[in-house]
Symmetry: C2
Subunit: 354 residues, 2 copies
């Protein structure tokens, strides 16, 4: 039972995490149609693609969904020498691995956030969720005035509070367990690795807005556990990664299931920003160059063609295989079926405990 | 409801964590008498002190309790130059802080584990629990043959499995949230920072022995949440740190309550071994010397007189203020009262969910 999601007409206390780069309109629509809140991770999408994908979701379901963006400055500062140096490293690595691909020099390092935000306003999703930084109070109010609920992401109580102070309708707390990019913006990433068992009750005690728990939740018992800690709803990402609707590469979907949790680390070498994923061959090979990495989004743009080539070649070991610490508990099945299973487990957990 | 603890005659699914250096016979006895399993952290105790403290517990209650030891080699290898260099750093730091204390050169760096184990066998506690490494299969069997249940500590599935393979009766999984020393022995400490939301279900899925969950659990709802994830019982340490029966210094007890979770880090500079606690003035001051630290137990012995002096002087900022990530949720009250409150919350959580 989620007061926040119920108020949107969402039946289940379940958010499918926005997994920019690996979710699809089909995944979002399937989750929303099944009674959860699907989220389109649109951080990497140019405005037109964002509009197109939102239209695809709407063509498939009339249920509410969320659009997620990364809050970033519009302008990207470049250190040319650093960029060229890392390009040489990356190109050499790909060549030594036998992959016929080179880093490109993209026309644009990332979509402009202000353009993405304008497109989001045009879409008017039920929920706009954000990571990497906070919006201004006026931006939050403007979204809300057009009927959009605003959900921020925090990895500490201080970050969750920053969103509450900006007027967010709810905050998603991202535990240390969580896969993919860390949302951290007030701390060094390594200082804000707070496990959900601490982060949820601490945030609930500190704030008055609903708290959505994310990180390591893989089944309905975990959703119930998060609720017991005070969460209004649970957000699951990795659990949906192996669904047929997910855009994760086949090798990634396979590697998830074999993942050992102590090999799921915090990785900078794909994107220049802390992200949790499998420590594979690429990560190990880039380790010596940890001090030479350009920041996000520059490195992310440089490695994008390499990651696409690795995926095509079935080389999971060279791919950014993001996942949370509970990865090996993933259950590959269609998203609608997974929502049904999760909610059965959730209901049963309530009865078991009574 | 804990099948494992019930089989010992322990009423509640609650273990008070062995907090070597800050728990007391009075704390252990109070928890055991109140229906939980008190644990005496005896890692720093010479055999006679271990026997004396066990006798104190037995004089206070006839209920079962646990004795906890650190599994370490008997012999400690010393790098004299490293020891003298860090002594100079530490003495200079204390002098600059106005504390009239110097590192000593202890007659022995740590109690001999084999002597401690012999004393433990003499005590015959209901439970012997261990951290930092695994026992051999024969050692486990020998303890069990004298009626002692053996509980190992693991920070990953692989470590938990190592204990199961040695024949342990149960395993305590220490989540990344947990305060004090990390039990990690198969990995680098930073690789085995697994949040409980992932670690408990992963371990339960992998092993057949009961799993006790430790790390960030601060109240009865957290205990119920751990149970939902598959734990047989919950182990709480930080929650008991501010009890009057705890030996934690007054400044430490006070600082706990103000702790911000992103300032509770992994610290090596007090003991030479990864431990979670407050990043205070001492930790910051020692940061530049991170590469010069002798390993555990050498550094731990060297800083022991400094930490005692800091405690006496009310200088929490120079003290090893171990705590889990949920520290600020601590509730200072007598241990028996805390057990009662925890179990009320635990019972109520069951009803709420139904």
């Amino acid at each position: 039972m989620s007061a926040f999601l119920r108020s949107l007409g969402v039946r289940h206390p379940l958010v499918q995490a926005p997994m920019s780069g690996s979710n699809t309109p089909a995944l979002v629509a399937a989750v929303s149609a099944a009674g959860g809140l699907g989220s389109l991770g649109a951080g990497y999408l140019e405005p037109q693609a964002l509009l197109d994908q939102a239209a695809e979701i709407r063509a498939a379901t009339d249920q509410p969904f969320a659009l997620n963006l990364f809050v970033l400055p519009d302008e990207v500062a470049i250190d040319e020498a650093q960029v060229e140096a890392i390009r040489r490293r990356l190109d050499a690595l790909m060549a030594s691995e036998g992959l016929a691909v080179r880093t490109g020099r993209p026309a644009r390092w990332a979509p402009r956030f202000s353009d993405q935000l304008a497109a989001l306003r045009e879409v008017r999703p039920a929920v706009a969720s954000f990571a990497f930084d906070v919006l201004g109070r006026a931006q939050v109010r403007e979204l809300q005035a057009s009927g959009i609920r605003v959900v921020g992401t925090g990895t500490s109580v201080a970050e969750a509070r920053a969103w509450a102070e900006r007027g967010a309708d709810a905050v998603c707390v991202q535990g240390a367990e969580a896969g993919g990019h860390r949302g951290t913006f007030l701390h060094a990433a390594e200082d804000a690795m707070i496990g959900l068992f601490a982060l949820v009750p601490l945030t609930v005690a500190a704030l008055d807005i609903p708290v959505i728990a994310a990180g390591g939740i893989m089944n309905g018992r975990g959703m119930r556990a998060a609720e017991l800690l005070g969460a209004d709803a649970s957000q699951l990402g990795t659990a949906f990664l192996a669904c047929p609707e997910s855009a994760a590469a086949a090798a990634w979907k396979r590697d998830l299931q074999q993942a050992q949790e102590h090999r799921i680390g915090t990785i900078y070498s794909f994107s220049g920003r802390a992200a949790r994923g499998l420590r594979n061959r690429f990560v190990d090979a880039m380790q010596p160059f940890a001090d030479e990495l350009p920041p996000y989004p520059v490195l992310n743009a440089l490695t994008a063609p390499l990651r696409r080539a690795a995926a095509t070649a079935g080389r999971g070991d060279l791919l950014s295989e993001w996942c949370g610490q509970g990865a090996s508990l993933v259950r590959p099945m269609p998203a609608a079926e997974l929502v049904r299973v999760l909610m059965e487990e959730y209901a049963a957990a309530g009865c078991t405990v009574a």
